[in-house]
Amino acid sequence: MSCEEPTTSPTPENNITVVSSDGKEFLLDLKLTEQSETLARLISNFEYDRTDVKKDPVPLGNITSAQMQKIIEWLQHHRYYPKWEQNDIHYSTSFTFETWVEEYLNIPNNEMFELLNAANYLNIPRLFSTICRIMASRITGKSAEQIRTVLNIKTDVKNDVYTGIPIQEDSSSSEDGMSEISLSPSPPPI
């Protein structure tokens, strides 16, 4: 789905100013803020959508200017998209994304995590869900050891008191058991 349309530059009447953690100010169109539940609720509570109300800059202490820039890019791109509706992720997990999203999120993991935090803070469900899916896709088909490398996870498996050998709860299945798993032949119908 692509809904690219020319963006309009915000005017003082239809925008608010947000301030990133490093003090940089961003002018945000009110239309864009609709995608962020946090900002939308804030604007609604303070009645910033009214032209006769003085709009103070909104401090976003958890979001840096780089992250804010990235988020605005996302908001601009999805400006004319229909309102996000969460599908039942448990039954329709899919790892296919539109090209723009793939390019947009072609960033190192650490930046991705920061963006995830920012999307969570601003409550932008479409972005949040997309990053979660991308994160899940990054470990697809990887073994536990590979996942440790990709996500920089340090194992905290306890050592045996007597032997000093790491005790793994599922050690018997983790390696050998996995190799038995295949996708074919498919099971018979019920």
């Binding site: 953690s21 490093d22 202490g61 958890n62 840096t64 992250q67 992720i89 448990h90 039954y91 329709s92 997990t93 899919s94 790892f95 190192p108 993991n109 650490n110 995590f113 920061e114 995830l116 935090n117 969570n120 949040f128 979660c132 994160m135 899940a136 470990i139 697809t140 088909g141 990887k142 073994s143 536990a144 996942i147 440790r148 990709v150 996500l151 920089n152 996870i153 340090k154 194992t155 905290d156 498996v157 306890k158 793994q168 709860e169 599922d170 018997s172 299945s173 983790s174 050998d176 058991g177 996995m178 038995e180 798993i181 295949s182 996708l183 074919s184 032949p185 498919s186 099971p187 019920i190």
Partner: protein, 733 residues
């Protein structure tokens, strides 16, 4: 062996020629001439290749025919130096094993040759020779290059240098020489002695291409300037006092420069070195200069702000290696180390910014390292020290820099350091280098690993991690939970959603609605495989939420592997469970796993003969319960007792199919029976039972002579709906 014989024969022939042919020396007895010109060309060439340059020249002077034969061979010289002055003309021939000269000098001969076209013309002018000099009387300056042509025709030489002796050569003659087309073949020009005016030197530098080598031993005016002065690949100036620091800084893409005298002190040199190591462009390979007169070498001033390494065993105690490590790089490393220190104490709100700074610093550092050290070339000119010191040096460079490739080579063109160590010739050196390069590769790999951006999955709050886990397919979750205890706990806390899960004695199948993340494990009666995969199956069962779970474990394989205590701790949330069972224990085990279930389907195998229904709340609370192939009506009675004691949902129903017809008549004896119409109504029998709830009753209906029994829960005033008496198809037989 054959070659030795041939070589020996040729040497004898050569000796014979020397004895017979060249008979000017009276001490050599006259013998029968050896007819060398009668030799075929190949033996002739082989014989003459044993001769040195003097012998070739003397032979060529014998006859024009001989000269012609010799010209065909083109004897190889390493270097040819032509010394030009008005008084004499000297050729220095450098061969692989000797260095001989031929000297043409102004003699007493009155008869001047106007042109020389054949070496034979020189025969009469032979004056004498000693070990290295062959002297021939001089001719007019016009004939100098005729001689040069003749000699050049006999030899081939890659390096030809012309040395002008300015104190013995008029400017006109010198310019005449330079104007000759032969000058183009010259590779090096040297101007010795005397002095050069600025005008003359400017003219010379205009004329001599920058691709040549240039050596000016003559004096140069202090105010001399020329754009090409420091652009020659190799430049040697005896007087470099006219060169300023800015001139040095402007040097680009040059081989090496030697300045015997300069106006520089230690501070100037240090300033230049700092500029050199920080310069992004290639400046020069080697600069050798003497400080201004009277200047004392101040080591500290020389190496100020430079990263240097003193080389043990070098020719001079003040010999330093200046490593091309940028000061900026040092700063970046310090910055990164500071950030890493702060990371342990940093406030969480600043954390991402710190990480960002660190990433930027790392990225810049990597760029610098790639640009500067991508190909770190060490030549013997730079490594002018003992072999055993190279490894500490290389280790040092490796420790400090990011070096991807070392090229170690000896000086191949110039003889300046010909007495220095030849790294390539040392077997030990090669071995050490190969070992070192292996180690370097490993170290580089480690360095690259550490330079990779560090992910901070561990820094994510658990709720965000859980959100990501929800998007992961089954296998990804299974793998993630094996990475660390924290991840395991997180994964274990999340429900696993499936469309259909089948536990069979031959396989385990996990299917999702979208088809992504389907898992199929086949164990084909292999108990080992089954025991290996059982933990995985238990993991799935721990938090399974599925539409359909079918358990068809005919030979108890799964039952015997999954231990009962483990199974008891599991809570399944299902839409439909279908259990094929052999015994009450098996049925008990599987159904005890249920937390919630809408439809429960139990199929009794032939071996089983149950008379008791498993009265788990989750089962009794199901909307539809179906029991197939019952053999004993005791199951129905047991179920009705349990059901009526519970508080089942209104409109819940139980459907039972006997293996063979059994009448419900016996149910009339139940204490809870409040009404029975068995054999009274046409087409069906019916029994009504009371429940713990006075407003609800249980109706049991069986078609006449039918195996199916339908039980439903109704309110007192509710009418029986026909939908209760339609057999629901969950299992296809």
């Amino acid at each position: 062996m054959v070659w030795r014989i041939v070589k020996s024969s040729l040497q004898n022939i050569h000796k014979a020629i020397r004895m017979c042919f060249w008979n000017t020396d009276t001490s050599i007895p006259k013998q029968k001439p050896f007819l060398i010109l009668k030799l075929p060309l190949v033996p002739f060439k082989l014989v003459t290749e044993f001769m040195n340059s003097h012998e070739i020249i003397k032979l060529s002077m014998c006859s024009y025919r001989m000269e012609s034969f010799l010209r065909v061979s083109k004897y190889k010289l390493i270097e040819l130096h032509v010394h030009l002055s008005d008084q004499r003309l000297r050729y220095d021939f450098a061969q692989s094993n000797n260095f001989l000269s031929i000297l043409f000098r102004k003699g007493k001969s009155e008869k001047q040759l106007e042109s020389v076209t054949k070496m034979q013309q020189l025969c009469e002018r032979y004056y004498g020779e000693d070990n290295t000099f062959l002297m021939i009387e001089y001719f007019s300056s016009n004939t100098v290059f005729d001689l040069y042509k003749c000699i050049n025709a006999l030899f081939s030489c890659p390096s030809v240098s012309w040395n002008f002796y300015l104190d013995q050569l008029s400017t006109e003659t010198m310019m005449h020489y330079l104007n000759l087309s032969l000058a183009e073949k010259c590779t090096e020009f040297s101007f010795m002695r005397g002095s050069l005016t600025a005008t003359l030197l400017t003219e010379l530098l205009d004329r001599i291409p920058v691709s040549k080598r240039l050596e000016i031993d003559s004096d140069i005016p202090i105010d001399f300037k020329h754009p090409n002065a420091l652009k020659y690949y190799v430049t040697r100036y005896n007087n470099g006092k006219w060169i300023t620091l800015n001139d040095l800084k402007s040097i680009r893409n040059v081989g090496w420069i030697e300045l015997k005298s300069t106006i520089f002190d230690c501070s100037d040199v240090n300033q230049f070195l700092n500029y050199w190591v920080n310069c992004e462009e290639d400046m020069l390979e080697l600069l050798e200069l003497n400080l201004q007169e009277g200047a004392i070498i101040d080591v500290f001033a020389l190496i100020d702000q430079l990263i240097t390494l003193r080389v043990e065993g070098a020719s001079s105690p003040n010999f330093f290696i200046i490593l091309e490590l940028l000061e900026r790089k040092k700063e970046l490393e310090e910055e990164i180390s500071m950030i890493e220190k702060r990371e342990n104490q940093v406030d969480i709100s600043d954390f991402s910014e710190e990480i960002r700074k660190k990433i930027n610093a790392n990225a810049e550092l990597r760029r610098l390292e790639i640009n500067k050290n991508n190909k770190f070339t060490i030549t013997s000119r730079q490594l002018y020290f003992k072999q055993d010191t190279i490894l500490p040096l290389l280790n040092y460079i490796l420790e400090k820099g990011h070096v991807e490739q070392f090229v170690v080579r000896s000086s191949e063109k110039d003889e300046v350091f010909s007495n220095g160590p030849n790294l390539e010739d040392s077997v030990a050196m090669k071995w050490e280098l190969s070992r070192f390069l292996r180690e370097m590769k490993q170290t580089l790999h480690t360095m690259e690993e550490t330079l990779k951006p560090k992910t901070n999955w561990s820094d994510l709050p658990s709720e965000l991690k859980l959100e990501c886990i929800d998007y992961m397919a089954l296998m990804e979750r299974w793998n993630l939970r094996q990475t660390a205890q924290v991840e395991r706990d997180l994964v274990n806390s999340r429900k696993i959603f499936a469309e259909t899960v089948i536990v069979d004695e031959k396989f385990f199948s996990f299917t999702t609605k979208s088809g992504i993340g389907n898992v199929f494990i086949s164990y084909e009666y292999d108990p080992d495989k089954l025991s290996r995969t059982c933990p995985f199956i238990l993991f799935v069962f721990q938090k399974l939420v599925a539409n359909v779970l079918k358990i068809d474990d005919e030979s108890y394989c799964m039952m015997s592997t999954l231990t009962i205590p483990q199974m008891e701790t599991i809570n399944l949330e299902l839409n439909t469970i279908i259990v094929f069972h052999n015994s009450f224990i098996e049925l008990y085990c599987w159904l005890s796993m249920l937390k919630k279930c809408v439809n429960v389907v139990i199929v009794e195998r032939d071996e089983a003969d149950l008379n008791k229904f498993p009265d788990f709340p989750a089962v009794l609370n199901a909307e539809t319960i179906q029991y197939i192939d019952a053999k004993n009506i005791g199951v129905l009675e047991s179920f009705l007792n349990a059901w009526s004691r519970q508080h089942p949902k209104l409109n819940s129903n139980f459907q039972m199919r006997f293996k063979s017809f059994e009448s419900i008549e016996s149910l009339r004896k139940m204490n809870s029976c409040i009404e029975s119409r068995v054999g009274e109504e046409e087409g069906y029998d019916m029994i009504a039972l009371e429940t713990n709830d006075p407003e609800k009753i249980v109706i049991v209906v069986q078609g006449t002579k039918q195996r199916e029994v339908f039980v439903c829960l109704l309110s007192e005033n509710q009418e029986l709906s026909t939908e209760f008496f339609i057999w629901k198809q969950f299992v296809k037989h």
